[in-house]
Amino acid sequence: MTSYRLDSGGLVNRSYALTFSFDGKSFKGLDGDTVASALLANDQMLMGRSFKYHRPRGPVTAGSSEPNALVTIGSGARNEPNVRATVAELYAGLTAVSQNRWPSLSFDMGSVNSLLSPLLGAGFYYKTFMWPAKFWEWVYEPVIRRAAGLGKMVMEADPDRYEKSWAHCDLLVVGAGPAGLMAALTAARSGVRVILADEGFRFGGSLLSENLNIGGVSAADYATGLIAELASLPNVTLMPRTTVFGWYDDMVFGAVERVQKHVASPSPDLAVERLWRIVAKRAILASGAEERPLVFGGNDKPGVMTAGAVRTYLNRYSVAVGSKVAVFTNGGSGYRTAADLAARGVEIAAIVDARAASEDVVPAGVRVIRNGAVVATKGRKRIDGLVVERAGFQEEISCDALAMAGGWSPIVHLMCQRGQKPVWSEEKQAFMAPDVGSAFVAAGSAAGTDTVSAALRDGAAKASAFARDLGFAAYEANIPDVEGEYDASFAPLWYVPGAKDKAFVDFQNDVHVSDLGIAQREAFRHIEHTKRYTTAGMATDQGKLGNVNTIGIVAGMRGVSPAEIGTTTFRPFYTPVSFGALAGASRGEHAAPTRTSPLHGWAKKNGATFVEAGLWYRSSWFPKEGEKTWRDSVDREVRNVRENAGLCDVSTLGKIEIFGANAGEFLDRIYSNGFLKLPVGKARYGLMLREDGMVFDDGTTSRLGPNHYVLTTTTAYATEVMTHLEFASQTLWPDLDVCFTSVSDQWAQMSLAGPKARAIMSRIVEDDISDAAFPFLAARTVTLRGGLAARLFRISFSGELAYELAVPAGYGEAVADAIMEAGREDGICAYGVEALNVLRVEKGFVTHSEIDGRATADDLGYGKMMGMNKPDFIGKHLSTRFGLTAADRLQLVGLKPIEADKEFKAGAHLLKENAAPSMASDQGFVSSVCYSPTLGHYIGLAMLKSGRERIGERIIVWDGLRNSEVPAEVCAPVFVDPGNTKLNV
């Protein structure tokens, strides 16, 4: 194996060799290498296969726009496909594998696609494989999927940690090349809070790649000096390995920091990637410029790369990309590459210049072919020669690498992500950054500067303007002289016509010039259509390298300026971002917060099975030994409440404390029923409507003092009701003297229900709670034995004698324990939300199964709760509108199966007897169903057309999902104790 590593120079640490593997073979690289530079140093030019034709490919760049050198890095669950070898930082033990080839990179069966290429042109999958239609799913698609594509995903869970963080600054500088470094330093010296981010693992940008002398030192050393000063300033945050991938509303930038992508075994205490949201008052885009490839036949072969990339490999990594390098150029960059290579002793095969003349310095002894063009390349896995054409004559030149210089395109993506399009400049022959307002500007070569000294000056000038703008004293930067600059200007050459082999425009998607021609001929002319039809500019690189050439070539075909063609739409992300980073820490137990009740510990002690209800964990039922199914437990709990007593956690109900002289008036307008006359010490069931007349929520509200109430909501609607009250008080009636706050978390609330509830509660509460002293709907502050103040409400959701006791949350578990102890002799049990549900269905109480946003108060049988004499309440005015008072509205009824052993399920629909089972004969639906242990059969609540008139009717419960029909009898919705004899004792 030939070593292409030069003996000296470069920014690699020669005393620190790193062993890594590529396709199972061991290689040695150096600290400071990328995977690509280390492979090139080891004569491994072939790094991948192309997407469609499986053509052998090597790197074409030395940066993040790389379309070809995509590899899979890592193994097992850490397997990461489509990593650009040109930016992947080398570390000891790294394993890289090439992609899209079988069985091996050098012998790839898929390359037969090249022979089929006449079939695989632009739009091939729209035209081919159309018949027979069935073959698409079974034959064509699987074959194409196997043949085409990039890396493969692993199905194992990602073992690594990710996180998100916010950052705030006065000035964000994107890119730490000459313009970015100077901008950051100039602003920082003024005292501006600066964040400087760069996608690379080493700051410096082109200063690391160019052979220049700045202020008497090398460009790289000059960069080191700037970085050292930046690092010493407290108002500067340096973010290497951080790609700013998006610009969002209100000057928020998205960035991803690769915290531990360059280590073999990431620390479990650190995220591997961190997603940043950077809020910046001002921003400077110093992302540099992209060198355009030239488009000629065989321009995709391994060994053909941009002239700037050749210089980067040479000057930064000390790797010569070949031993005899040819140059094809339309500007100064090619000559500079030849000069740098020649200076390091690399033979230059020739410089092929598309222009007739130029003033560029030609290295001694190097042949220049002016007015020339490369029309073909020789070799397969690495080029071994070129065919150059000049004035109609062709000549073969041997070489083992080709540097191509096609001019420069400023990297302006970020500034175009919020709708503005880049602007074509005839002078620069490039798309320039649009004007996006005064807070975000481009600087340096991203703004079209041609030299490093101009970039340094531009960065400094734009930073000091921002500093002044932000109220800081401007600092005038001292820009040293730069020696050894070259003329980066170029003459456009969009493509070399007459190629026999394919001339690629988009390497990653295998789009060549003739594909663009097909798109034009077949009327996919708009650049967005051309993109979709040919796939130029799609996939992981989104055409960073090829798009401008695509536009130039299409413009040429159409005989118009590239300005008229315009660009496709720029969107985040600039480079691919992992799903891990986007999810951050929000996965597993951190995906959503969980809420636990103050009685959670009590429920656990009593063996509860928990259910997730929204964010809450609620106790669902409490299995006892010997109980085989959940129903066994629930039936027992229900029976026990009806016969003895049970304790249930109702802490999750929303509780809102309301104060103010107009609090009663406020409630009177919030609820459909009256609240003005609610006495102190009393609770009242209330119904809230939406403004459209539908029921919104229900609950009890108690008056604790003349101007003091506590309102309860359902668990599910706690937040919505709070918001509703805020809307009403802030926007509808801001003049009412009312204020309120949520106290939902302050109170542990438990319901003690059953015939023995009073006896048990009396052992806990000091106050007299006899029926006379504490009747139904009493609501007062009481004192527990031992002195703790609590709130006691005599309300019932089961039809039994019941109390709700609220105690400060921290005492909840202890009080619940005490009640269980006090009730032991009376056979108390803990009951969960399943039994709670059975108890309320038996009693015909509604929940959000019935209050589903379509039911009016009257539908639910609460017509009497519409205080139509009140001048105003929310929902009053539209409650009588057309349709809401129709006779055939769905009304709440009860259902019981005709045959007692039959079961039906909620969600089933109701049909008249003998009606066809279809929605055309729909009579309503079943809202709640349970097995009633009290009655010994299933019961249900349903919403039925004109239901109240149909008590006693036989009806069919039709479950279309389970294909069952169960005859049932319509009955009143109250199944147990309709006379409330158990309540008022």
Binding site: V252, T723, R881
Partner: protein, 93 residues
């Protein structure tokens, strides 16, 4: 990724802290005709461009704010407390 709204009470906050509650429409007087109520509840202009919406600062001060913004460009012209906004509107009337 993010949008920021400057709450007059809490300062600049990400959109995640807010809940958008629809167009700012004045509630009719209790005695208004059904048609007025119908328009209030159901009819919205849904313009493209400048729009005044209620944004509830749910994870902050829990105040209803009137955000006056362009729903195409997300340019925000003003953020006002809804109570204040209603008072100003009354004065203007």
């Amino acid at each position: 990724m993010a949008s920021l709204i400057s709450c007059p009470h809490c300062g600049t906050r990400p959109k995640e802290e807010f809940s958008i509650r629809g167009a700012v429409v004045a509630r009719p007087q209790p005695g208004a005709k059904e048609d007025a109520w119908y328009r209030y509840v159901f009819i919205r202009d849904n313009p493209k461009g400048r729009y005044q919406e209620y944004w509830h600062h749910a994870a902050g001060c829990r105040r209803f704010l009137v955000v006056d913004r362009d729903n195409l460009t997300h340019e925000v012209f003003a953020v006002t407390d809804a109570t204040e906004f209603a008072k100003n509107a009354e004065v203007a009337r």
